[in-house]
Amino acid sequence: MHVTRGFTGHGRAARDPRLPPGQYDAHDDWPVLNAEPTPRLRTDRWTFTVEGLVENETTWTWDEFRALPASRYDGDIHCVTSWSKLGMTFTGVSVDLLLEAAVPDPAAAFVTAVSRTGYTTNLPLADVRYGKAWVVWEAQGRELTPQHGGPARLLVPHLYFWKSAKWVSGLRLTAEDEQGFWERNGYHDRGDPWREQRYQGDD
């Protein structure tokens, strides 16, 4: 341990046990970090597709998607750039429902989330099943804005937030792990904030 001369960390009196190591509470700020210009997407042309190693490739239009049973996530989100937001509320559809419709092949072990912009991110399939992931259109009771990935983004809150692809257009199931955009650019393939899996080679 290398102690920094004079540093006591006056902010930590308020440090919340919900914050993973190396993270700070962004409070009312919700920083926006993406590598590309923000696209303005129209819901009348929006679709969402589950494809790849599935028995029943399925595509939903916006209206069909919004007619699916909605569910809520109440909890925290963690960005690899060190901010976290605690006690967020998102509304959307559970990825479990989408997979149920598409019927994953038993060989499927990974998933690539694909965005309308071409952005991709890879996840173990297990990280988006059993109540761990959603496709959301509402945050904090309001329609998701384009800056935050609207009309809809993936939400995988137990992993660093770059896994929660903005402007998501589908999930592609694969047998092998195929690196996405940030993962090819040096970020971790899984990204568990509690294990500080920030960069390739961590952990």
Binding site: M1, H2, V3, T4, R5, G6, F7, T8, G9, H10, G11, R12, R15, P21, G22, Y24, A26, D29, P31, V32, L33, N34, A35, E36, P37, T38, P39, T81, S82, W83, V114, T117, G118, Y119, T120, Q147, G180, F181, W182, R184, N185, G186, R198, Y199, G201
Partner: protein, 246 residues
């Protein structure tokens, strides 16, 4: 669809391990931003546009870490410079601006980032707002140091003269400054937000240039909207949005 950046031929920049570095110099860039010169003890390879993680540790083991872009050009030396914007109440930025003195040691990890980086060969356009000037300054300084300033075209947006980072290096032959709230006496352009007319000259005969945009989220959104208006393809634009780093 192909993903952006799929072919970026960048091999430098493994984050590596935490290392202890010495503060070799410090100066105020503006009343609210301080540059720290760090001695890493050995030659440090990085690319213009990359950042470092910086970690502070209290005697009882409590740590706080933040990301800071490198402002200096890659020079094959052991030194890098970071510029820290002082945010009131920020436990890291206040400490770095108010408490750190030359000779202190800090921990850093990096360099980090392989997307918002310049390869030092391709002509580029940079559009920076406020603290977003930092990584683009590394690019401009590298182009100047290589004797190839024509590779860079930089536009910096600042609120008023006392807010401009690197004021003894900006503007220059390849760089302009646009004032949004208050312009120095004698400025031809009235203060105001960036407009298409400000950005269009950057693309005269340079439609093929990669465009680096860095600043606050609202700044980046405003700039990329104007770039779209000017017909710059989204695939040529790389954006780094600076959230508040307290």
């Amino acid at each position: 669809m192909s993903a952006p950046g799929a072919s970026v031929p960048v091999t430098v920049g493994r984050p590596g391990r935490w290392r202890v570095v010495t503060v070799a110099g410090a100066r105020w860039e503006t009343p609210r931003a301080r540059t720290l010169r760090l001695d890493l003890g050995e030659e440090f390879a990085f690319l213009a546009g990359q950042h470092l993680l910086l970690r502070l540790t209290a005697p009882d083991g409590y740590t706080a870490q933040r990301s800071y872009s490198i402002a200096s050009a890659p020079a094959g030396s052991a030194f890098v410079e970071l510029t820290v914007e002082r945010l009131p109440g920020g436990e890291v930025s206040e400490f770095l601006c108010d408490e750190v003195v030359v000779g202190d040691t800090l921990e850093v990890r990096g360099p980090i980032g392989r997307w918002f980086v310049w390869d030092a060969e391709e002509p580029f356009v940079g559009v920076a707002g406020g603290s977003g000037t930092v990584p683009l300054m590394a690019m401009l300084r590298q182009a100047r140091a290589a004797g190839r300033p024509e590779l860079a075209r930089l536009l910096v947006s600042a609120r008023r003269p006392e807010d401009l980072y690197y004021a003894d290096e900006l503007p220059g032959p390849e760089s302009t400054v646009v004032w949004t709230r208050e312009a120095p006496p004698g400025s031809a352009r009235a203060p105001g937000r960036l407009r298409a007319a400000d950005l269009a000259p950057l693309f005269d005969g340079g439609q093929e240039r990669t465009v680096f945009v860095c600043g606050s989220p609202s700044f980046c959104d405003a700039v990329t909207d104007v770039l779209a208006e000017l017909g710059v393809p989204a695939s040529r634009v790389r954006v780094e949005r600076f959230g508040p780093s307290r």
